[in-house]
Symmetry: C2
Subunit: 328 residues, 2 copies
């Protein structure tokens, strides 16, 4: 396969060409999979070419327990944003599924009404059997959509659990969806999901108990409002009938404006950049450790630990002497 | 609190003093929690003092879906090993619970019959709110029990999921427990749990369908026997009535002897030592990254990434120049 012309792809992506966007995300994914030196070089070329064109998009993460209506909510949100003339990117992330293709297909079908809209980019990502791979690829995929001129990028997590919280950490604004009668309060509190929310949605608001769930949440939010400087809104919706979606868009915009006014968006982005740079650096050290051989190589040190000559901390001291730069 | 006399504690632990064993494990846990420089120094002192006295114990991991009878099986296994005059350590590990104390209490009650036996050490460990902390503390706790003269250390995982697989990676011999009528085949295959087993137990073997489950597993195992050089045995048990436990002990001994004969135990321990040394070294690099400041410090590089002057990979290049030793 010929090496891709990355600057040309980025140029075409910036003009909104869907195929160039898709190709760039694939390059990013392949580079993350450790598919060889060429793939890594492509990934680096993509990251470098994107850098000057990123930082505009409002990244919105949507999360919540299974069955709460995340997919439907994402879809109606796309419609409402398009109606305002905004370009929208959607990343549907499934940390629990190793099947990228399946998720992609399901997503295309589900997002059928937006599939032919040139102002919408939809991409599904899965772990592809490479644990942790998703955490690496998602921020780069976000950058591609950002550079492609998306005003808003929605990151929807399909799976559940810890990885969900990690993925949401990529967003400027995190929306937590709940529904009445799911025992949400306890479950959500347990998963630490209330803590990460900037905006709450109580979906299926036409069901019994919805008003109570909304009242409970609003009461909880009013208690911690001053601490954050942002009283987190609770938006009742019926996504299946597109009810409450205008209010949700307004809440997202309000949060973005609040973040920009006080410098909070920049603070969040700096924190994200720090973790990303650190993770890449550590990955590089891991590779260096694999390269060291001889008496201070990992294999020899492991033998000495197994033979009881050295403890793992002493072994790490010796290894660090080779791979870690001395402190000035 | 005065600094502990680590060599004295290790000496007393080697003589089988339960309080010294418990204190050493606590020192290890505190050091892992990042409870300050003194705690880290204690951890290092403990690891160094233990090194010459480790490597004897046969480490057996027990895992399987909730409700399969892991706790009961562990308890009767302790009884059978004690009847043979062996010293036994038990680490009950719950990756999903942040509550160390609760698990401890439950365990003490459950293991009541062994609680006063001087040849048995029982310890419960939980994450104590520190994600990943358990993965760090467990191998050190194993070393304490090993040095204390345990012939066998049983590591029982209470939680479920990925962390279970990681914890089991600490064992010389991994026992996977299944029970009839739990839809185990599919579930276990999905979780990759069949792959990690060295010995299978079909517990509750007096229930309907047990014979079929045993036959199915034996057939599967006969298919891949040659590949590993070890045909993985399937042992039916009724742990609640201590049935099949002698056969299980025999299977564990046979696996240990097979590993020792062909060098497999050493290979597994070398692999474990390698990951442990690598993890400690990376943690050290992480700390170094936190110390670097100025133009090539993480904070400044993050600003340049957010401002689009640099991509995260270019930033990692600059950071690596400071924290990673140049390659010779």
């Amino acid at each position: 396969m010929p090496r891709p012309d990355v600057p040309d792809l980025v140029e075409r992506a910036r003009r909104g060409e869907a195929r160039a966007v898709a190709r760039l995300i694939s390059l990013v994914e392949n580079g993350m999979d450790g598919a060889g030196d060429a793939a890594t070089a492509d990934l680096r070329a993509v990251a470098a070419a994107l850098a000057p064109h990123t930082g505009r998009a409002h990244v919105v993460g949507l999360t919540g327990p299974p069955g709460v209506g995340k997919s439907t909510s994402t879809s109606v949100l796309v419609g409402a944003l398009r109606a305002r003339g905004r370009r929208v990117g959607v990343l549907a992330v499934d940390p629990s599924s190793p099947f990228s293709g399946g998720a992609l297909l399901g997503d295309r079908v589900r997002m059928g009404e937006h599939a032919t809209d040139e102002g919408v980019f939809i991409r599904s990502m899965a772990t592809r059997g490479h644990l942790g791979g998703l955490a690496w690829a998602t921020p780069q995929a976000l950058r591609v959509l950002d550079a492609a001129g998306c005003d808003v990028v929605l990151v929807e997590t399909v799976g559940v659990g810890q990885s969900e919280v990690e993925v949401v950490a990529l967003a400027d604004t995190t929306v937590v969806l709940l529904a009445p009668g799911m025992g949400d309060g306890v479950q959500a509190a347990k998963a630490g999901i209330l803590e990460i929310a900037d905006v709450f949605v109580v979906n299926k608001a036409d069901r019994d108990g919805a008003a109570q769930t909304v009242r409970d949440l609003r009461h909880m939010m009013s208690l911690d409002g001053d601490e954050r400087g942002w009283e987190r809104p609770v938006v009742p919706t019926v996504a299946a009938r597109a009810e409450g979606v205008e209010e949700l868009v307004a809440a997202l915009d309000a949060h973005r404006d609040w973040m920009d006014a006080g410098g909070e968006r920049r603070r969040r982005r700096l924190a994200r950049a720090r973790s990303e740079i650190q993770a890449i650096t550590l990955e590089r050290v891991r590779a260096r450790i694999g390269d060291v051989s001889g008496a201070d190589g990992l294999a020899t040190l492991a033998e000495r630990v197994v033979d009881g000559e050295l403890d793992p901390y002493g072994a790490a001291d010796e290894l660090a002497g080779t791979v870690v730069a001395p402190q000035h």
